[in-house]
C-alpha cells in the first residue's frame, strides 16, 4: 500500500519468531516481494498511475545493483549496513513527515513533460496531476543502492526508492509509490532467481507466505486508491520510522523478542 514489498517485515518475522533458517527466510521473502509487487502493480498500471518509462529507466541500475549486491553480499557486514540504513531512514521519515505540510508541488502547466514526465488522474483529488522528472542521475544512483541492498538483504528496496523519487526527483507520492511497486518485482526477481537456481526456495515456507501477502497486497492496493496523498505520506513516514528503529536495535544486538 505504501510502495514497499513487505520484505522488511517478512524476514524478521520468519527468522526471529518462527526460527526459519535465514537463507530460506530471504528466499521466501523475495518470492513474497514479487507477489506483492505484481498484485499492486497490476492495479496501478491499469489505472495509469505507474510511470512505465521511468520505472524501466531506473530498473537498469537497480537490477545491476541487485546482482552486484548478491555477489558482494558476504563482503560487507550486515551489522554495519543495518546501522547506517537505519540512521538514514530515520532522517528521511522525519523529514517526510515534517515537509508533508508544504509538500504541494507547483503545478506543471508546461506542455512538455520531457521524456520521462507523465500525468495521472488522482481520484481522491478529482484532478489530473502532471509532473516532470528532476535529478534523474540522483535517482539512478539511489536505485543502484536500493538494488544492492535488495540483493544483500532480500528486501525489495522500496523503502529507499520511494523517498528518493518523492524528495529528490519531484515525483508526486502516488506516482512514486506505484512506480516503486512496479519496479521491486524485477529487483526481487534478480535475487530470487539465484536462490531458486540453488534450490534454496522451500515451498513449505514460501507458498503460505506468498498466498498470504498476495491477498494482503490486493486489499492494500484497493485501499491506497481511496486514501489522500497526504495521509499516504504520513503512513509511509511512520512505517519507515518503525523499520529504521528496528534495524538500529538489531544492529546494536538488541533483540525485541
Amino acid at each position: 500500500m505504501v510502495g514497499l514489498g513487505g520484505g522488511v517485515f517478512i524476514i524478521p518475522t520468519l527468522a526471529l519468531f518462527l526460527d526459519v533458517p535465514i537463507h530460506s527466510a530471504i528466499a521466501a521473502s523475495l518470492l513474497a516481494v514479487i507477489a506483492t509487487s505484481t498484485t499492486a502493480a497490476a492495479a496501478y498500471v491499469r489505472d495509469d498511475l505507474t510511470n512505465l518509462r521511468l520505472g524501466m529507466t531506473l530498473e537498469t541500475t537497480t537490477v545491476t545493483g541487485a546482482v552486484i549486491g548478491g555477489l558482494v553480499g558476504t563482503a560487507l557486514s550486515k551489522t554495519v549496513l543495518s546501522a547506517v540504513f537505519g540512521g538514514v531512514m530515520i532522517a528521511v521519515s522525519v523529514y517526510m513527515a515534517v515537509r508533508q505540510r508544504n509538500a504541494k508541488l507547483p503545478p506543471v502547466t508546461d506542455e512538455d513533460l520531457g521524456l520521462l514526465g507523465a500525468s495521472y488522474h488522482d481520484r481522491s483529488l478529482g484532478e489530473t496531476v502532471r509532473y516532470r522528472v528532476r535529478r534523474l542521475p540522483a535517482g539512478m544512483a539511489a536505485s543502484f543502492v536500493a538494488g544492492n541492498v535488495s540483493g544483500l538483504l532480500g528486501v525489495g528496496g522500496g523503502f529507499l526508492k520511494v523517498p528518493v523519487m518523492v524528495l529528490a526527483m519531484s515525483i508526486p507520492v502516488r506516482a512514486a509509490v506505484s512506480t516503486s511497486s512496479f519496479m521491486i518485482g524485477v529487483t526481487a526477481c534478480a535475487g530470487a532467481l539465484v536462490y531458486f537456481a540453488r534450490g534454496l526456495v522451500d515451498p513449505v515456507i514460501t507458498v503460505p507466505v506468498v498466498l498470504g501477502v498476495t491477498l494482503g497486497a490486493y486489499l492494500g492496493s484497493k485501499l491506497a486508491m481511496r486514501v489522500k496523498s497526504s495521509v499516504l505520506t504520513i503512513i509511509l513516514a511512520i512505517v519507515l520510522f518503525a523499520f529504521s528503529v528496528q534495524m538500529i536495535l538489531s544492529a546494536a544486538g538488541i533483540d525485541l523478542r
Partner: protein, 111 residues
C-alpha cells in the same frame, strides 16, 4: 490509458493468477493426502513427472516458477512494447534489465 498499460497489466494478472492457482492446487492435494510431506524438487526437469503423479511439490514448484517468470515476462513485454512505439532508448533499457536477470540466474546455477 494506453495499449501498453493494458498489455502490461494483463501480463502481470495472468502470471500471478496462474502461479496462485498452481500453489492452491498443491495445497488442496496436500490436504487430500495426509501423511504426505511436500519435498522440494531440486530439478526443474522433475516438475512434469511430479505433476503427472499429482505430487503437491510439483504444483508448488511450478507455481513458484511461474511467479518468478512473471516479472521477466513483463520486462519482455515492455521491450517489445517500447519498440513498437519506436522508443528505442527505453527498449534497450529493457534489454539491459533482461540480460542482467539472465546473468543472475546463470550465477545461481553455476555455484
Amino acid at each position: 490509458m494506453t495499449r501498453l498499460n493494458i498489455t502490461i497489466s494483463r501480463v502481470l494478472v495472468v502470471g500471478l493468477l496462474a502461479a496462485v492457482a498452481f500453489m492452491l492446487a498443491g495445497a488442496v492435494l496436500t490436504a487430500a493426502r495426509p501423511g504426505l510431506t511436500a519435498i522440494h524438487e531440486t530439478s526443474v526437469a522433475d516438475i512434469p513427472r511430479a505433476l503427472a503423479h499429482l505430487e503437491p511439490s510439483g504444483f508448488f514448484d511450478l507455481g513458484l516458477l511461474l511467479l518468478l517468470a512473471t516479472p521477466v515476462a513483463r520486462v519482455i513485454a515492455l521491450l517489445f512494447g517500447f519498440a513498437r512505439e519506436r522508443k528505442w532508448l527505453l527498449s534497450s533499457f529493457s534489454l539491459i534489465v533482461l540480460v542482467a536477470l539472465a546473468f543472475s540466474a546463470y550465477l545461481g546455477l553455476r555455484v
